[in-house]
């Protein structure tokens, strides 16, 4: 991607920090924020590609409704980044290809 676009923190200096990685790259987050917020602040605006056409997607609603923030977290696929709080040492990966957890697939 050509330009890296960061969300900016209003109070950059404050808050405890948490270290995670996205695709192996270190990401410094603030305790209490969500994985989706942390990735946006680090300039990762897309965390997945759609299973249908392979188009990139990134967080859209930030309230748990759209599922465009899905990422792999600590080895578990299809986690909602906007609904998961950051933890030290978290390993976050991009999701590509087929989505294996569809609604109702638990049966």
């Amino acid at each position: 991607m050509r330009n890296v676009l960061h969300f900016k923190r209003l109070d950059e200096a404050s808050g405890d920090t948490v270290e995670l990685t996205f695709e192996g790259e270190p990401v410094t987050a603030r305790a209490g924020e969500t994985v989706a917020a942390a990735l946006l602040a680090a300039g990762h605006i897309s965390g997945r590609q759609t299973p249908v056409s392979g188009s990139p997607r990134g967080p859209y609603c930030m309230m748990g409704a759209c599922f465009d923030c899905l990422v792999e977290i600590d080895g578990e696929a299809n986690r909602q980044g906007c609904m998961t709080q950051v933890r030290d040492g978290m390993v976050v990966r991009r999701m590509t290809g087929a989505r294996d957890v569809d609604r109702g697939s638990a049966a």
Binding site: M1, N3, L5, H6, F7, K8, R9, L10, D11, S14, R30, G32, E33, T34, A37, L40, A41, I45, S46, T50, V52, S53, S55, P56, R57, G58, P59, Y60, C61, M62, M63, G64, A65, C66, F67, D68, L70, E76, N78, M83, Q85, R99, V101, D102, R103, G104, S105, A106, A107
Partner: protein, 469 residues
């Protein structure tokens, strides 16, 4: 099913919190479930942890939400945070997941207070990374103190669009443009409702003050914009549109879009409660009486999930529903309920006065209700408006058939961001009313759950009651 409660409230926004306060004070056992980490709902997201400066940026209406938090202090009220409800049965069994573990509980009464979601705003390019709802931008500000990258363009219609622009301004962040899509003809349709709205002109005054502050800051404001297209290679780079008879192209690194809010009907639909089409608000809402009672005994709905009326009205509605539940539980008499309801009933009416004017003024533009053929309407399964029209040509008569024709609405969002559009595209193509065409049937689980979560459910005597998910 081990735990039993007098009342289960789903949603800890103003409606759910206000109800919990009334019920907790009366000593009822209440469980308040919300999938967010903190109480407050959409308007008061992060209210318990927002710093003083963040509160002043977000404004007095936001800060006022803190007054609802003492509801949670009652001993008999249990707030289960981070709990996503994925099934509610007509027998009032509630299943939810929290931190990767599924659990169930049973309640005598259920209050659904799940609020609103932003109305779908499909146009070419709305799926590009960097395009987000304005509500998402606001959530990032409320919960993480974050501002979007510049240049930032806000596009769409409705009071929230201007509120967010004003909150950004208060945070020292000047967005680069507002591309308003409110159709030109709306004002004339709204004017007959103006006398009613003047009886409660609080919203009007606030709205005008907000618009004035944006004008004063010199933010370009394109009115009655049409033909929106977001462009970009892998991420949003520009918004193209027509306004004032001229084509425009604005470069942007973030594009926040908004097209009003509509009731979140996932739970009420999954229970097959009666719903009515509201032609002024352009949405369905569950049919309720003044206390939120639905077509199914034991289930009430309060707040914006029952019809859009705003946060203050949501709190009044929550209290009215709670008082009715107290009467049902035999904790107060009918007379007591009436006496205690009068203030909230009057306030609810007062808040309602401003609605018809606002609803008519900000009625959504046609181009988002019946998008051009190439526009993706179902984000999850990437089904275009043109495909839906093709399905109709092939004999598809409604949204549920559209699922089998081409998976529209079958992705994980379960139609939250395409249901209204798919119904309106089909209705327009068939020349029918929305009510005739109907809405998706919503089936549990309301959110995807993993096998691991299901397997984590505590098995006990009535394990056979467990739903087949």
């Amino acid at each position: 099913m081990s735990e039993r409660f007098d009342v289960a409230i789903i949603g800890a926004g103003p409606a759910g919190l206000a109800a919990a306060g009334v019920l907790g004070q009366a000593g009822c056992s209440v469980t308040l479930l919300d999938e967010q980490a903190e109480p407050g709902g959409q308007i008061y997201r992060g209210i318990g942890s927002a710093s003083g400066p963040r509160k002043s940026v977000l404004g007095a209406d936001y800060a006022a939400g803190a007054s609802l938090l003492p509801s949670l202090a009652h001993d008999s009220v249990t707030h289960i945070a981070g709990a996503t409800v994925w099934e509610v049965t007509p027998e009032r069994d509630i299943y939810y997941s929290q931190a990767g573990k599924a659990s169930g509980l049973k309640a005598e009464h259920v209050l659904v207070a799940t609020g609103a979601t932003e109305r779908p705003m499909p146009f070419p390019g709305w799926t590009l990374p960097g395009v987000m709802t304005a509500g998402a931008g606001q959530i990032l500000l409320k919960t993480a103190g974050m501002l979007p990258p510049s240049p930032c363009v806000l596009a769409g219609s409705g009071p929230l669009l201007f509120l967010i622009a004003a909150q950004y301004l208060a945070a020292g962040f000047k967005i680069d443009a507002i591309v308003e899509t409110t159709p030109r003809g709306n004002l004339a349709k709204a004017l007959p409702h103006l006398p009613g709205a003047l009886l409660n002109n609080k919203y009007l005054r606030k709205g005008l003050a907000m618009l004035a502050s944006l004008r004063k800051a010199g933010i370009p404001h394109y009115k009655a914009s049409t033909s929106l297209v977001a462009e970009g290679d892998g991420q949003v780079e520009a918004l193209k549109f027509t306004s004032g008879g001229k084509p425009h192209r604005l470069a942007c690194a973030s594009l926040l879009i908004h097209n009003g809010v509509v009731p979140n009907v996932q739970i009420s639909r999954s229970l097959n409660l009666d719903h009515a089409w509201d032609s002024l608000q352009h949405c369905w809402h569950p049919v309720t009486d003044a206390s939120g009672a639905t077509s199914l005994a034991g289930f009430r709905v309060a707040g914006d999930g029952g019809g859009i009326a705003g946060a203050e009205a949501a709190a009044h509605g929550g209290r009215l529903a709670a008082l009715a539940i107290l009467e049902d539980l035999g904790k107060i008499t009918g007379g007591e309920r009436q006496a205690r309801s009068s203030d909230d009933s009057a306030a609810l009416k007062w808040h309602g006065r401003a609605r018809p004017f606002l609803d008519a003024l900000y009625a959504p533009a046609r181009e988002f209700l019946e998008p051009a053929d190439s526009t993706i309407v179902c984000r999850c399964e990437e089904v275009t408006a043109g495909k839906i029209r093709e399905f109709v040509d092939l004999g598809c008569l409604g949204p549920n058939q559209a699922k089998s024709f081409g998976r529209a609405g079958m992705g994980p969002c379960q139609g939250r961001y395409c249901g209204l559009t798919v119904s309106s595209v089909i209705a327009a193509k068939l020349g029918k009313e929305m009510d005739e065409v109907g809405y998706y049937r919503i089936r549990p689980p309301l959110k995807p759950i993993t096998l691991r979560e299901l397997a984590s459910m505590d098995l006990d005597d009535d394990a056979d009651e467990r739903p087949a998910a």
